[in-house]
Every structure is written in structure tokens, then in C-alpha cells.
């Protein structure tokens, strides 16, 4: 935007902009504030009209009660285990595949790559039923494997890393090859260290997607020990219909890690989204 002289900068229009955008931001944040404040209220303060924003006393023990009402600790470990495994797995499989697409010559490379990109267009619902049945046939339903293994490869991730690898100059690698390095060494010792921003973007996107996933966990697990935070919270909702203090404590629990990750790694989230917008 062109820069304005200071006097015009405080015009009525700018004032209007400020009011509009801050009001909208506040409205967007209101549910979060409401969630956090409700989670530390006494039930007596929850069922009052008009609603009271601030609790008279902060009842942090609500979190303890929520964790006692349902094994959220266990749910948490499950979610972390699944999300971390899938993320690490994708980092490995995607960088390997991306290396092949970006650096190696082989027959049918372009066709295979296009086919890969094409799979991003397929809605998950189309592959969901047969994937469920495959897992059923090999006896993996209701296991961690069912939650992790189908997510171990990603067309989006392969694409994202391939695009990044292509921007790395080849001179470094050529020198390494002359020194007798294998392709593996080149990938792990030269390309990977140079690709940290792309790997961070992929990690954050994958972690967020898996941690927040609900439908797949709902379909392939049934025992309580395998429940993820999201599934646990959805079932909690059915059981404690009006215990809003516990429900909000559970919601804070389910959103906090992602919000923290986001706070520290905002630029990678933004990068991932803009990249997804460029893929067309």
C-alpha cells in the first residue's frame, strides 16, 4: 500500500477500519475466551442469566475432575503417539519419494508424478470403505496400526518437498558424488539439512491433521484404550450433556497443544496454506 502522510493516516476511514477489524477479531476470539472461562467456573456460575464472564473463584480442579471422569491422559498419549508416528513416517517416506522425483532420472517419472498429484483430488470418502475392509481382513481394526499405517505416505507431502528440493542448487551434490557419496548420503547429509523450512511445514501440517482427526479414529477403533483426544471428547459430549465445566475443560485440553504449536510456528502454518494454494 502507498504510504500516506501522517495527517491523512488518521482519517475517518482508517478509524472505521480499526473498529471493524478489531470487533471482528474479538468476535472470533469470544468462543475461546468463553471456553477458557467456563472451564474454571463453578456450575452455579455457569447456569446464570445474564451470563457472567469472570468466575468469582478460579476452579482449576475442574480439570482434575474432567480427567477423572474420562481418561483424558490416556487419550492424550494415544493422540500424541499416533500424530508423532505419522508425522515422522511421512517425513521419511515423503522425502525419499520427493528425492526420486526431484533428482533421479527414471522411466515414467512425469506420469507417475502426475498420477500422484491426481490422487489429491480423490475425496477421502471414496477410499475410506475399502481401506477399512483391508484393515479388517488383516486384523488391524481397533489397533494403533489402523490409526497410523494408512497415513504413512502423503501425496501433498511428497509434492511439497519435491518442489522445495528442486530449488536447491545441484553443485553441492555433484561435489559429493565425485567424492564417492551414495545417493542416501546425499539425501540425508546434504538435501535434508537444507530443507528444514519445508520439513517443518510438512511436520506441522501433518501433526495438526492427525491430532485433530476424528472420522478415521471413529471408524477404526472401538476400545476405550485406543481413543484419541478428539474421539474421547466427542464421546464425553454424549455422556456429560450439560456439565459444561468439564466439557470446556476437555475442550481446552484438546485444543491447547495445537494452539501452542501454532503460536511458536505461525509462519510454517501460513506457508503450508499458501503452498497448498499454489499447487494448482
Amino acid at each position: 500500500m502507498p504510504s500516506y502522510p501522517a495527517k491523512i493516516a488518521f482519517s475517518m476511514r482508517r478509524l472505521l477500519y480499526y473498529i471493524l477489524i478489531y470487533a471482528a477479531a474479538l468476535a472470533t476470539l469470544a468462543p475461546f475466551i468463553w471456553m477458557v472461562l467456563t472451564s474454571v467456573k463453578d456450575l452455579n456460575e455457569i447456569f446464570v442469566y445474564p451470563p457472567k464472564w469472570m468466575p468469582a473463584k478460579f476452579h482449576f480442579e475442574n480439570y482434575l475432575r474432567a480427567f477423572q471422569a474420562a481418561p483424558f491422559g490416556r487419550y492424550y498419549l494415544n493422540s500424541l503417539l499416533v500424530a508423532v508416528s505419522v508425522t515422522l513416517g511421512q517425513l521419511i517416506t515423503c522425502s525419499m519419494a520427493a528425492f526420486a522425483f526431484a533428482r533421479l532420472q527414471f522411466k515414467g517419472r512425469e506420469v507417475l508424478f502426475l498420477l500422484f498429484l491426481g490422487t489429491m483430488m480423490i475425496p477421502g470418502q471414496v477410499t475410506m470403505i475399502p481401506t477399512f475392509m483391508i484393515l479388517h481382513w488383516i486384523g488391524w481394526i481397533d489397533s494403533y496400526k489402523a490409526l497410523i499405517v494408512p497415513g504413512l505416505a502423503s501425496a501433498f507431502g511428497t509434492f511439497l518437498l519435491r518442489q522445495f528440493f528442486m530449488t536447491i542448487p545441484k553443485e553441492l551434490e555433484e561435489a559429493a558424488y565425485i567424492d564417492g557419496c551414495s545417493r542416501w548420503r546425499v539425501l540425508w547429509n546434504i538435501i535434508i539439512p537444507l530443507s528444514k523450512p519445508a520439513l517443518a511445514t510438512l511436520s506441522i501440517f501433518t501433526f495438526m491433521g492427525v491430532f485433530n482427526d476424528f472420522m478415521w479414529a471413529l471408524i477404526v477403533t472401538s476400545s476405550e484404550e485406543l481413543r484419541t483426544v478428539q474421539l474421547g471428547l466427542a464421546i464425553f459430549r454424549d455422556r456429560y450433556l450439560t456439565e459444561w465445566d468439564l466439557m470446556m475443560a476437555g475442550s481446552v485440553t484438546a485444543t491447547l497443544p495445537i494452539l501452542i504449536v501454532f503460536f511458536f510456528a505461525q509462519k510454517y502454518f501460513i506457508k503450508g496454506i499458501t503452498l497448498s494454494g499454489l499447487k494448482e
Binding site: A100, F106, V126, A155
Partner: protein, 297 residues
């Protein structure tokens, strides 16, 4: 790549082989959990199968004709359309507005961007749980704010019309930040010189917005529209937790119906037909939009 000067047939073969090795984990996972399922669900859509019997009975197009005869199918399709028409334009208009305002010189941009983006990153389940509380008819914030302006709010999630509206409002809140980021990137791609030239010609903010921003932003707008429509046809999580498809099926959308058919009634063949219908519908809608876009240029 190996040094090209010493490139022989055997080296090429070796390179192909190592490419295969590098690709193998991805290829194994993909053929098992994407390629085979895509083909198999197409096959299944012409069969009747409850998953537990050994045999899949070929029924031809019966699953597809059954779909078109099922009044519930039409009702969920209608709900999905209402949801899409309700969310996509509203979301796009608001996210463009927010992105436009954020593209101006403002104090506290980082805070603002974080605020608008926060709903995007939290789980749909948690978001829906929070909004159930927001929509509580007696103690919820939504109705409280409505009474402040003199409106008596409905029992949001228990009345068919208001439940769909509640779902739409929440969906817009949840995805606005995502489109805002895309619009922001698009806005930053418009060179300042265009605006400066327009100012010299005496154009105001309004003219600049309609004559420069909107036309130059159209590739971004198009992309967002296509992606938003695809996304809204696939809504499930928020519906499951916010309304469970109720009241009286008023918010039951296509994927919710598919889920019920497959994992409640185990009608795997029929559910596959529904999945393929969704797939085809999305392809047709996307192609239509591309046509429309091209005819406009």
C-alpha cells in the same frame, strides 16, 4: 544425479533401480490404501455386500438407482447444498474483507492474524463442543448477545431451520482464517504501482477495490471457491458433534449419510455408490466452475 559424463546404460539402470527403492515405501502405502481402494470401491458400488458375508452379489446399477429413489438421499443432498450455499459465499466475502483490511497499514496485525486463524487450527470436535455451549438457548452467549439487541434467540440446535443456520455460522467462523491467508497472499501479489497509478487518476478506495483488487485477485478467488465447495460437500466432523444430523435430519449431510450407511448399517456396496456419486459430483462441479471462469475472461 550422478555425474552425467560417465553416464552409461548400466548407470542409468542403476539410477532407475535406486529411484524405485526411494519410492518404494510411498508406493507400497499408496497402492494399498489409495490405488486399490479407489478401484475396489468402484467395483463394490455395483455389488451388494454387508462386509460379513463371503460373497459380494453383483447387482448392476441397483445401488445407484436405489440412491435416486431414496427420499432420504435427496433430503441429505438438499441439506448439503443449503450448507454449501450458506457457507461458501459468506465465508469468501468475509475472508476477503478481513484480508483486505489486514493488507492496510494497521497496528497489531500479528495479533489480528493470529485471532482470525485460531479457529482454523483447533479440532472440529472441540470447536463443535464449544459452539454447543455458545448456542445453549438459556445460558449461551449467542442468545445473550441477541437479547442485547432486542431479539429473542431460538433454541438453536433443536429447531430444524435454526440448526442449519447455527451449523453454517459455526463453519464460517471455523474456516474464515484459512481463506483469509490465501486472500492475503493474493493481495500481496498485486503490485503497488497499480494502486498508485489509480490514485493519480483520482480513484477512491472503493473504485480501487472494484477495479483493481477484485479483477487481479480472480485466480485466487477461483481457487478458494473450488476448494471451499469441495470442502463443504465433505463436511462431517462438525455435523457429527454439533447436531448429529438432527433435529429430524435437518442437518444430515451427504457424508454423514454415507457414514451411517457404511458403518451403522454395513451397506458397503451402497455406501460405495454414494461415495462415487460424491466423487463424480465434485468433478462435475469443478469442471463447471473452470468453464465458467474461462468464459468470463
Amino acid at each position: 544425479m550422478a555425474p552425467s559424463r560417465t553416464y552409461t546404460a548400466s548407470a542409468r539402470k542403476k539410477e532407475g533401480l535406486s529411484a524405485l527403492l526411494f519410492l518404494s515405501p510411498t508406493l507400497v502405502i499408496f497402492s494399498t490404501f489409495v490405488l486399490f481402494p479407489v478401484l475396489f470401491s468402484f467395483y463394490l458400488s455395483f455389488h451388494q455386500w454387508n462386509m460379513f458375508s463371503a460373497q459380494q452379489a453383483f447387482v448392476g446399477l441397483a445401488n445407484y438407482t436405489r440412491m435416486f429413489r431414496d427420499p432420504e438421499f435427496w433430503s441429505v443432498l438438499k441439506n448439503t447444498l443449503i450448507y454449501t450455499v450458506g457457507t461458501v459465499p459468506l465465508n469468501m466475502a468475509l475472508s476477503l474483507l478481513v484480508a483486505y483490511l489486514l493488507n492496510q497499514k494497521l497496528a497489531g496485525k500479528k495479533f489480528l492474524r493470529t485471532a482470525f486463524f485460531a479457529p482454523v487450527i483447533i479440532s472440529p470436535v472441540a470447536a463443535a463442543v464449544i459452539w454447543r455451549w455458545m448456542y445453549d438457548p438459556n445460558f449461551g452467549l449467542v442468545n445473550y448477545f441477541l437479547t442485547l439487541v432486542g431479539i429473542k434467540g431460538p433454541n438453536w440446535l433443536n429447531e430444524p431451520h435454526s440448526a442449519m443456520f447455527a451449523l453454517i455460522l459455526m463453519a464460517v467462523w471455523k474456516t474464515l482464517g484459512f481463506n483469509m491467508v490465501l486472500f492475503s497472499a493474493g493481495l500481496q501479489g498485486i503490485p503497488d504501482t497499480y494502486y498508485e497509478a489509480a490514485e493519480i487518476d483520482g480513484a477512491g478506495a472503493w473504485t480501487k477495490f472494484w477495479r483493481i483488487t477484485i479483477p487481479l485477485l480472480s485466480p485466487t478467488t477461483f481457487f478458494i471457491m473450488v476448494m471451499s465447495i469441495i470442502g463443504s460437500f465433505q463436511a462431517f466432523d462438525v455435523v457429527y458433534v454439533l447436531t448429529s444430523g438432527g433435529p429430524m435430519g435437518a442437518t444430515k449431510v451427504l457424508v454423514f449419510y454415507l457414514y451411517e450407511q457404511a458403518f451403522k448399517f454395513f451397506e458397503m456396496g451402497y455406501a460405495s455408490a454414494v461415495a462415487y456419486f460424491l466423487f463424480l459430483l465434485l468433478i462435475v462441479l469443478t469442471l463447471l466452475q473452470i468453464r465458467l471462469m474461462k468464459s468470463k475472461i
